[in-house]
Symmetry: C2
Subunit: 199 residues, 2 copies
DNA sequence: TGTACATCAGTGAACGCGCGTTCACTGATGTAC
DNA sequence: TGTACATCAGTGAACGCGCGTTCACTGATGTAC
């Protein structure tokens, strides 16, 4: 029984994590398996003892966001839900639409970094993307004051506003406009919570 | 002087138009110059007497959206601006967030179809994408009732909401959720106009 | 503590393939006479 | 009206390249004794 049983798990995790970062930076097709494996300290041949193919890795890389920054958001949401939840929603919006999140490409939410890549990828990859959207809207919905259909609608609209504001900000070169779009989305999202926000 | 002087212009336009459609469908890198030229009825070699390279075509294809559906929106906005403009904004939101726009991939707004492709493309391509965003927010801003900074902020937030709602809807497989996100974005956008909308 | 060994993680050459781009050419065009 | 011709739009073979994937192998590992 050579190598510890945990070894394979750890290396696999390192590959997924590195892939998530590289896909975020350069997109799915621009990252070659050769580059990826080299930056994990291995060679290309080994890849196929961990994954059936590149697309399978892609799905795992997208989903793995929920282990990092995504998990953090969820954990905070669970803890703070006691004070009514609105604080949690406010903090989430503030964080998602922050300039830190925009410039932290390596750890950025894949819904921002990869939408059009994912739209043309396999069903498994799109399912992973869907799980991110569900996590986000679940976090909103679970912490809003309204009830039923109205609450769900607000949660989905907030998700669209957050992702849309960031996608536009990331794609354009004009940093002034990017900041304005991000700021406008944030103001609007916060004011949707029913509390007036100071400007 | 062989061939009419208009000939080159027309063929070039046909290539750009076909490229816009194919990029919308499959993304930038998945469309080969060979395929593109073949579907215009020519062979690959001819491409380079029209464009310096593939990237230059990409920028033109993105920008060319403003000649089709984009131009239509702008024209309508110009005409209706007399009745205060709110009707124009409402019509724009209705149209942009419609299920027809979502399923009409060939003529879809490239801000929806290509965001993460564009984010990693040349400055020229990003400039073309920026011109689409400017056109959209200009249309909103020019037809809203508020003034100054508040008006601009609302225009940008509406843009984020429209694009975000559509990007999410297009990327996920779950059509029920896609429709809900699109519907939620539309309701929220319309209610931001200060008029209560019937449900 | 030391050694022989079975296992399998990792290697890297090789495969077929399609890409963007170049270039010497061919042949359809409208013009000049 | 008919013909010779210069132009240049369009052709398609060829280029170098990097990709995803396969596979026969090598050598580090922990175990058994």
């Amino acid at each position: 029984m050579p190598y510890s049983p945990a070894h394979k798990k750890e290396v696999r995790k390192r590959i997924v994590e590195q892939a998530r970062i590289m896909f975020n930076r350069d997109g799915f097709s621009a990252v070659s398996i050769d580059q990826l494996m080299a930056s994990v300290g291995l060679t290309r041949g080994g890849f196929y003892s961990y994954f059936r193919n590149k697309e399978e890795l892609y799905a795992e890389a997208v989903a793995s966001f929920l282990n990092g920054r995504g998990k953090q958001w969820r954990d905070e949401a669970g803890v703070e839900a006691e004070n009514g939840g609105l604080d949690t929603v406010r903090a989430m919006i503030d964080s998602y639409l922050s300039s830190e999140h925009l410039s932290d490409i390596d750890s950025q939410c894949p819904m921002i970094a990869l939408p059009s890549d994912v739209a043309r990828a396999s069903p498994e990859v799109r399912a992973a993307y869907l799980s991110l959207l569900r996590a986000m809207s679940w976090l909103f919905e679970n912490n809003l004051a309204e009830n039923g259909a109205e609450r769900r609608e607000k949660a989905l609209a907030l998700s669209a506003l957050c992702v849309g504001g960031m996608v536009l900000s990331r794609t354009i070169d004009d940093t002034k406009l990017a900041d304005d779009v991000r700021g406008a989305a944030k103001q609007t999202a916060l004011s949707m919570l029913g509390v007036e926000v100071q400007r």
